[in-house]
Structures are given as C-alpha cells and as structure tokens.
Symmetry: C2
Subunit: 429 residues, 2 copies
C-alpha cells in the first residue's frame, strides 16, 4: 500500500439538520483508514479551498466530532453558495494547486446536483494535471431534488427525512392551534421550502394520513391557480369551519420580487414578499372567508435546523452516506457519489451504494405527477408510503447541558498556508 | 358540607404550549374534590357558555386527560377571541342563565388580563342575581403581560417559559445556520411574537448569555428607529461578517397594514406585511450590507405550539396554577386568580398563591426599562437572571406512537342543552 494522503471535505448549498452527521461519518471512518492521512475541512465550502483555509479535523477532540450528530446546519465547517462555473479556469487551477500543496489525495463534496458536478470536474481536471485525486460526492438536500425521478440513482437525500418530520409534527400542532382558535382565526397558512419541487410541502400529509384534518397542500407544481386556491380555502371553511393551508414557497401566486443566489436559484427567504403573505392578503382582501380571518407562518430556515424534529432514520442514513464516501475514497474509486437505494418489499430497508457523479450531475428529479391528487389540493397515499419510513418511529434525544444544547465547537486549528493569497474569481470587483 | 355543584372551565385568547396542562391540573384536582360535581369545558371559551356547548370532561378517559400535558395549543376544548364587553347585557345575563340551568357553582377562566376582568364581572353579576358562583382565574399568556411590572401580582405567566425556551434553542440553531452560510447570507432576521411587550424577543438572549454571537435584539419598546437599526446591522456585519436580528412583531418599522382582533389587539400574523419583511426589504434595497444579503423567518404561531421546545418548568407551573385554581374554587374563594410568586434568594423557588382578579384586571405590565441595554440592541443580565430558570434544565419527552405524536382526543360528549338557542350579541348581523 502507498503512503497515506490527506483528505479535504467541503459542503455546499443550504444546510440541513443532518448535514453534520454525514461529516461525522466521514471523519470517524476516515480516521480509521490507513490510506487517509490528515482530514481537513475547507472552511465555507469550495471558497475555503480557493482561500487555502483548511480546518484540521484530525486535531479536533473525538467528543466535538461526536457532537456533530445533533448539531444542525453548517456552522461547524461552513457551507457556501460559491459556484465553480465553466470558464472560471483560474479557480479550477487554484483548487488543484491547493490540493497539491497539501498533499490532498481525496476530495469529498457534500451537496446537491451542482456539487456533484463540481466534484466530478475537479477530479477530471486533477487527472489531466497529473494529480492523483479521488473525488467523491456525498448527497444532501432538504428538498430531495438530487438524482432522477424514478429513484434509480438515489431513493431520497439525507436531510429530507428530517424536514419531513418537522412538517409532520408541526402540522399536528398547527391543527391543534387552528381547531382551537377558530372561528376567530379560521385560516392558517404555512409556507414550506423546496422551491420548484414539492417533497417538503407534501410531507404535511404525514401529519394526517387518514385525512381527518381540513388540510390543503399546494406544491409549486400542483397546477392550481390563485382563484382556484382561494375557492378551495373558502369551500373548506364552509364545510369544516376552518382550513390549514400548506403552500410551497415556489407556488406562483403573483410577483414576489425574487432574488437569485450565485447558483441562479431563487432565494425565497430574501424575496420582497412571500407567497404566504400574498395568499393571506388575498384571502383577507377578498373576504374569503372574512376580513382578517387568515394568518400566515413563514418558518423559513427554522425547518432546516430545528434539531428537535430531526428524523433518527435520516440521521443514521446521513452518517452512512458519509461513511460510505470515506470507504469509496480510500478504495480509490473516483467519480462516484455514495447513495441510498431502497430495497424491494413492504418493509423499509436500504442499501448504501455508489453511482457515477456525472450521472447525478446530469439528472433532474421531479415530484411524480401521479402523486399529486386530482384537483391539486393534496398528495397521494403512494407518497405517504414513500415518505413515512423516512421520518422514523421516535424523536432524537439531544444533549442539553444547563438548559441549552451542547453543540460542536471546533478549535480553530488550520493547515499552515503554503501559497500566496488568492481572491476567488467571482469575488473580484 | 353542601351538595356538590358543577364546574365550567373555559379558555380565552391565543394558546400556549402549556395551556392544556393548566386544564389538566384543574380536571385532575377537581375530580378528587367532593365539593365539585361534573366538570364541563365551554367549547371555544365564553362563546361555548353563550351557546350552551358544554363538553363533559368528567366523562373523558383518564388517559386522554393525562395526554393534555403534551398536547399544545387549544384544540382540545377550544379558545376564543369573543369579549364580553360592558353593555353586552344580554350576553352577561345569558351566561348566568346557562350556569343556573346546569347547576354550575364554579367558573374557571384561563386567560390574560381581559379574561380576569370577565371572570370577575361574571362572578359579581351572579352574586347580584342570587346565583352562588365562585369565579376563579387561571393565568396564561406567552408574552408574559399579565399583572404588574414589579411582579407583585404574578412573577411570570404560564406559557412564557416555553416560548422563551423555543427562542433560546432556536437562536442557538439560527446561529449555526447563520455562521455556516455567511458570507453569502450574512443577515438572518427572526420575528418574535409579543405585540408591545418585549419578553419574547428578549428570550433570544438566553441562547447566548455570554454574548458570543453577533446577535441584535429589538423589542417594540427598544426606542430605536429604522435607520439606527439598519446602521446597527451594517456595523455588526462589518465587525463579525454576519448578524442575527431578532425583532418583535410590534417593532415600528413602517406601515404593516395592521388588522385588529375582537379585543382591539393588533393581529400581527394577519397584517398585510410583517416587520421582518419590511426590515429584510430595507436592508436588501439599501444594500446594507449587500443586495439579497438579508433573509427573514416569521415563525408566527409555531413558537406557541412547538411542543418539543416546551419548558418542563413551565409545564409543571401551568399544572400547579390549574390545581391551585381548583382548590380555590372548592374552598369557595371567589374573585381570585391563582398565581406564581417567586421567593427571595438566589435559588429559583416559587410558591402558588391567590391574588384578586380585580387587581389583575386593572394592572398593566411593562418590560422593565432598566432591562433594555443602552442603545436598545440588547437586554441585560438582570433579564437573563429573571428568565433563565423558567426554561428548565432539560427538554420535555413526548409520547410518540408510530412516528407521530399522540395528542388528546376527547369524545364529543356534551351536556344536554336545557335552553333555547342563543346567538352571542357580537355575532348578530
């Protein structure tokens, strides 16, 4: 066996409650593998590579690493929305230069489709430049939009089960709120994340698989217009005295003054108004069902870092994806993403496998049209059967010390910088 | 001892995670007391009395009653925003008539200042009309606005400790989100409930009593204007690279198109825009710190029914307030509210006591001005010492069955109606 070489792990895009558990899976596995030397995290994703900010994870205590399990979001090593776009040749060459300077033989990128593309391109360029680099992807997104629509590349992404659990439990509570406070407050609007793909709002159905609540669910792709939606709500209030309306942030209800991030994705939390607010205003203005009768919640980033509602299944799967990625790296298999594939049969079982990064990068997932109910106000039992196993049977126990949660706090121990400082191309004025 | 007479309990105003635990305290205590006969809940507060909709709580299973402990909000018996205003004489007479028809000797009203006023007036009218009725109040509000500013009538209201814990834990997570996602998303704005009194946004400080986070806290009463706030944020981003801004829904940042409820209170969740949105837009438009750099969360009702973040101290205290109220009722002491008073000394201890309803109804609490830091961007250590014991040392364990939470489900067993139907005065067209 050849000498051990160092590993760099980085994160990209929005965080999830379990993203750090994939990181933990990588660290706790890689540190046991003789092929792998020092484990570094690029601070704030690929920007940390470009700026040569490499946090030494091998120097951190085992306890802080263990606490990553229940530390949500990406504060520990950071994430980024910096994209290595085609044409940013200097950036690509800089990445290779930094990896060479720190004897990096393994690059693990935790993220969505875009990140899988980046990991693939970096590994390909390294090969061209004669750097022996294994590039491996680790899947992550709360909106479950990685891979293909038929679940051949991945069944679901780590992160989704936890946000689904958040919605399951919070819609249970919202139903207590709404049923308790009607008739004064008959309409409660809840805005869910997920941009153009409806897995997150769909998860509201998990709160009520028997359909006992007056619950209306609108995906961005539901095919319902503004007037139909308002009619549905008024009708629901007429029949049940109240309505809980879960609506995707990406549902088109009018101009929200959208703002786009570096990936060209709409950043709904930064828009000048939200769909929930537009809907509340429309219902209140049109008097459907009565002026001031609708109110709205926009939990925003809460749903992707509310750790108490994380799914234990999701936590475990996120870990295993990290572990699998470290094993793939050590075995020298470049150009793959670790993945979760569901086994056939009525009992939920998964296996962890590998799929080519290029296939993931070139795939695009859609919410199955057959899972949207006729009329576009609900999702089907097939969706419930798909999603219910992902939320887990119980809640996660959190380490509370003196009332507050004990979160991972890494020491700021960085690799010594070997190169001249560098300004990432997109950051130059 | 005279024959047992029946009890009616009702709730008013916005719910809390622990309001049902006061109800449980009442039921589990009253059912053991020989003075008390059947325990009824007025469905949807005083409206249920007017409409003679009396849910039979004595007929419910002990298990469903026990599950009230972790069932948030007011879905089990309902609450209302219907106010018995002076001059609504028919309504007042109807209440007495309904109580007489059902041999009600005890009326327990769970709510805030307005409800204490109602309970007091109903008891006084009953006495005038020759109906022997004991009226007792049970305190409840998430915004801790019951009683006086010097904490002589009540130290804090049941409900506040849980929403404080929600903010403590969620600001810990928001800090992970914000530190992880900067520099792309440097400003995270979180909107807190509490109208014109700042106890809820202040609780964000409990996440970081050592002041290590770039956290700015704005109460409605902070005395900061729009430009100062934006300057504070820009300055915080310059110094720390990021900022978490917790702002009260009642902070004046511009016209929010407010909607008022039946009590004349602003219903911020129904306004045509929120302060968080106005702030996000202002920061993004003025480019402080950069276009699209601010995003906002408006958790709305989530913070008052997110049961996983309930405070165990708050749960216990809510129960004891219900228990105390039942004991006061059985002992024939009309015109009092059960209350929580803090004992002197550095170790947190409370005693449960009684205070006159009229005094509570005529009091008005303000957030102590001395607890707002100079500059209006924070709260003081005195506030932290006051509030920290209320959030408890650990989290509450929830009964999860098959993934979802098992919530109280009462059987729809109602007292037989004795009177002609009645339309509450304020509901008449």
């Amino acid at each position: 066996m050849s000498r051990p070489r160092n590993l760099v792990v980085a994160q990209s895009g929005g965080p999830s409650p379990v993203i750090n558990n994939s990181l933990r899976g990588i660290i706790e596995t890689a540190r046991e593998l003789p092929e792998i030397g020092t484990i570094y995290a690029a601070r704030h994703g690929i920007e940390g590579v470009l700026k040569e900010e490499l946090l030494d994870l091998s120097a951190q205590s085992a306890q802080e690493v263990a606490l990553l399990r229940t530390t949500p979001a990406a504060g520990s090593i950071g994430t980024c929305r910096y994209k290595l776009k085609p044409g940013q040749d200097e950036d690509f060459e800089r990445v290779i230069e930094v990896f060479r300077a720190h004897d990096v033989g393994y690059f693990l990128y935790i993220g969505g489709n875009d990140s899988m593309d980046t990991a693939d391109k970096v590994a390909a360029l390294a090969a061209q430049r004669g750097l022996d680099l294994v590039g491996v992807g680790v899947p992550k997104t709360i909106d479950n939009d990685v891979g293909d629509s038929e679940f051949r590349l991945i069944d679901h992404t780590p992160g989704y089960g936890s946000v689904a659990r958040y919605w399951m439990q919070n819609v249970q509570y919202a139903n207590e709120e709404n049923s308790g406070s009607c008739p004064a407050d008959p309409v409660l609007v809840l805005q869910a994340m997920g941009r153009k793909i409806g897995y997150i709002p769909a998860a509201a159905r998990l709160a009520d698989p028997e359909r006992e609540m007056p619950l209306l669910i609108y995906l961005a792709e539901s095919g319902v217009n503004k007037e139909q939606l308002a009619d549905n709500v008024a009708d629901c209030v007429r029949r049940h005295g109240r309505a809980i309306v879960v609506v995707s942030e990406g549902f088109h209800f009018g101009d929200i003054g959208e703002v786009k991030d570096a990936f060209g994705h709409t950043s709904f939390s930064s828009s000048s108004i939200t769909v929930a607010q537009l809907l509340v205003n429309y219902l209140n203005e049109t008097g459907l069902p009565a002026k001031g009768a609708a109110r709205g919640n926009v939990p925003g980033t809460d749903q992707r870092h509310s750790m108490a509602y994380a799914s234990p299944v999701d936590l475990d799967e996120a870990y295993k994806c990290g572990e699998m990625a470290a094993l793939l790296a050590a075995s020298g298999q470049s150009g793959f993403m670790s993945t979760i594939l569901r086994e056939e049969g009525s009992i939920y079982t998964v296996r962890y496998d590998e799929v080519p990064l290029a296939e993931v990068a070139n795939s695009e997932r859609a919410f199955p049209a057959s899972w949207i109910s006729a009329g576009g106000t609900d999702v089907s039992d097939e969706f419930v059967r798909y999603a219910m196993p992902l939320v887990g049977a119980d809640m996660v126990s959190l380490p509370i010390v003196g009332g507050r949660q004990r979160l991972t706090r890494f020491e700021p121990i960085y690799a010594e910088q070997q190169l001249a400082s560098y300004v990432p191309q997109a950051d130059r004025k």
